[in-house]
Symmetry: D3
Subunit: 237 residues, 6 copies
């Protein structure tokens, strides 16, 4: 039996707590079991150079881990003088996923920055960040509407993210850190409620995987994502 | 009347929540009103070069703010590629203060690192960090004893910290951000239960201050610190 | 008709030229149409800390682009003072893919570094780098054997990589830069001759994609990879 | 008897030599015994963003030590690639202190930069830098007036700085490096001729200090500062 | 007999291959024996601040080595986070030399950037870079004329560069790496077809050299440079 | 007539003041007119990796300018986060020149670091640094002998350095900043008392120069160097 008394396809207890930061335009503290990520969405009335003049807006993300989010203390990236490759890779993924969820034209010439700070890491921090970051982003859009900055909230399509993997030849959903460490395959799936996919990243950690393995993992992910969309809808009610 | 219905000498509601991080040897989430700092204490079985060979241990601190801890988003220091002067100054202060609280010989040749991460900033983050960091440090020492790493917890003397200031000619205790922004004098006092002082940092922001002003602020600080020592004792029970 | 007179499933002219660097243990200049990447494999008789003491070896990769590999000159990363997020993400992918191709135990306690330097970029630089990097790696293993450093070449399983995408609703294989810029979906597939997958990275650039789209793209990739394995075998003859 | 034949309250020989740099708008080479700091004041006709549009000016400071200002050679910060925490803390202190000494509105929209470079360090470099930096700043204002840039020299109030400490239970004024290294308490006092305080930074190095200790140190500082104001007046004659 | 069957005054086989990069305004792959440098010339329609407003243009150069251009792998400067002193020194030399070759007024307010990337290093990379970089620059000027950006190609005077040295008391021309490593004197000469000198950099590696030695080396350089001017003219035909 | 009432071949007033730093093993404050460089020589009982195990020692140099050494304030390199290309180029030149002056075997396995800090810059800072740095180095060797670290001072051969240039078609010796700014050719010559050359660096700033020009400049340098050797001998008496 896996931790949190769940079967291979079960999610850990998921919480999406909105609010909790008095400054950010949108905030969501997301928990997948012991993984805990604080996501905040901030708004700036300017866009990066490559978007300038198009009338559209932009969404970007930054990711960080508190030094003791991990079992052993990790060196603070600010002290190390740079963000590591893993951090940059993850924040690029979060940014791409959230941009897919919003009509950037409808946002108008402003930038949403979604900060995802991991308070505690027990596997699946990037997928939790995307799932919670979407909620923070929608809350920020509502704030902009209530402030009168936006006449209406631009069209958004929910995105959620889940990690799936293969451990001992079996498909597991929502891996915690010990499971992730022993997985043969690690797959992150970012999708939408209609079953469409936004991003699929599968990595063979020890053994290459077959097309059938991939299909089985994607099936499992699809079911899990539906539960996450329900959680998001509830949090945004 | 000041926010939180308090008079000039009143503290904001102070909370010292222990636990809440499953990895760190000691954790304390400290709140002074809307200021919220997560402090964790980590242990390494080695010491920096200047202590090596003395048999003594070391305590150091690191300080950071989440980008949206502040009213307007602050640039992430890891992305900027370095810690700013304010950050370095604050973490040096925290480290010195906590070293004063512990018998480093009794700690033995190991290093305690107290990470102070500001989740929300509304004035007084450095004093909150010291006050909470002391609790996290003591918890870590108890963890080391329960693990058998330490035969006994080394002697500690509580340190707490409070900010005092002068606004409109009056002494105020525990300034929130709006008060801090309009203060003529800003004084951080780090002390011990016997009234002794560990660190005093007073800065004239707009007007130089007299010896009498300083005495009045120190009197006010002394009373406030006693309340904080009681909070710490309660949290550590 | 696509450039290089090919249909949707056709590869650009692919060349894997071995040799050409008098110092490296293995070298392969790989061309996919106008994309040209110089891959060299270097050997060091030491391993990174996390492998030390296991008896196994390690494979790592570094990726870079010459400033004028691109249509407009790109700032030199050495002058900018850091490698960008895209660079780090790509070199992590190359490293993971090549580690999957080799028996690290059989390599023994040494590190292979595969440098992938893009001389000219016209789409698909990362997949070219993996495809050519595998050849450079095998050549380096043969050099180690001929030098007597290795008693026998450790077991390797070929890995090749191909980009697939959807443009205007159709699946295209081996996208060049103009195609890549207008793709709705971008999928990089790294696989082995038995059809197993090592890495799958699919990104919706403008439109989310269905499971059926993904299957169609993977089918196309599989055929393309078979041609690349033949090219690798020929180059290594 | 302390070095330089002085009693506990005595200053080391203090010299404030004006001039000596043919380029700077104001220059003062300040010596406290063997501590020697070259301070120069430079003028730029622009202000930092947070002052822009207010009509006021700004004063900032930078601090550095030549590598062999110290007993053992210290690594050059330019070679290390960043200014250390001690450097940043000191230059922030110098900047705040000198801003307190000048009517920034009267300065107009320009920036004074006071560079404090330690040629030889024997304790008290930051207090020497403030004391000499004030002189350099006033000389620069006079230069601006003589050039016709300023119609009149803005109002300045002298600031001087002194270090006081407790060694073996006794109050000592103007500690040299060996005294500083063995001090139980270290207090830097920046004040004005009317006895008002601009900055007070007291640190318990080994033993916490009482309010009475603080008062005794401040008394001693007050007397010392009066001598420094006289030296400054003499240098500026 | 030296490698490549040449006498003391002989050049290695020199190739200046134009073209080979589909993006750059000018490209020349230069080879001196086993030394191989890819030079590309890029154009930007802006000038650095110190030239702004003069109507003149600017030429700058950047230099880099692929990690495995050398016998043992050299750390990638982008990964190290900075360009080393040798790199900066060389690219400053290349820039100065190429600026001497062109009428900057005739270029107009635009910047030519000559990137010199060493694919393989066997001594004389900086002199090869200058010799090839001149060709790339002229090709870029022709491209600007054919694009109509320039009404006419500005006046250029060829510059070529050669290394000369003293090994075992004898003058050698165009040293390869083993010769360079054992040279007592190392002299880089950058000159023009009329015998005038643009840059002379002579360094005693082990033994100081006499005026007569210098004259002998300059004589040898002069002859070698004439051959290089012929090669450049041929490449530019 | 040039400044300091000198003819084309005259040196500015040169001073080599020994001592003046109580910590360094050797110190020389060198002045060429208004150019003023503080050189100190420090000793460490270790050598860099490439010398390790040879029994020989090493000499290295670092160069820096105080921000207001120049007419307009220059940005502090420590604040900029790196040493510029000019700085690195100069300190490499100083190091090479001083290594040529000493028997590194006789020094034994230790490193001499010569710090050259420019207090005021009026042309010729690198040549002043070499000339004064040699004196500081010899003083340090004497200190090592008097401490008993060295049984005898290793063999040294004096090196001095001078800048020569061509302005308006005439050869000038020891150019000050205004002369240097208008020079057509700039030549730095580092030599020894027997007339041998250690380093020659000639640069055409505006006009290429002939072999005859070079000879005339070297003649002038030779005479000037003889005067500098006399100054060095006097300072070291």
């Amino acid at each position: 039996m896996r931790a949190h008394s769940r079967d291979n396809f079960g999610l850990r207890p998921v919480e999406l707590r909105v609010g909790g930061n008095k400054f950010a335009e949108g905030t969501c503290l997301v928990e997948f079991g012991d993984t805990r990520v604080l996501t905040t969405c901030s708004v700036e009335e300017r866009v990066p150079p490559h978007v300038m003049g198009t009338g559209a807006g932009w969404v970007t993300a930054e990711y960080g881990m508190l030094p003791r989010a991990t079992k052993n203390r990790t060196r603070r990236e600010a002290a190390a003088g740079k963000q590591g490759g893993r951090t940059l890779e993850i924040q690029r993924l979060i940014g791409r996923s959230l941009r897919a969820a919003i009509d950037l034209k409808g946002l108008g010439p402003r930038t949403l920055t979604v900060d995802c700070d991991v308070l505690q890491a027990d596997g699946g921090t990037r997928t939790a960040a995307i799932t919670g970051g979407f909620v923070a982003m929608v809350l920020a859009l509502r704030t902009l509407k209530s402030r009168g900055t936006l006449a209406k909230v631009p069209t958004v399509t929910p995105v959620s993210a889940i990690s799936v993997g293969m451990v001992g030849g079996e498909v597991l959903v929502d891996l915690d850190y010990p499971e992730d460490s022993s997985a043969q395959v690690d797959l992150n799936v970012i999708g939408m409620p209609d079953g469409k996919l936004v991003e699929v990243q599968g990595t063979a950690e020890r053994h290459a995987f077959s097309r059938a393995d991939l299909a089985a993992m994607l099936d499992a992910a699809e079911t899990a994502l539906l539960q996450l969309f329900a959680k998001q809808a509830e949090a945004l009610e």
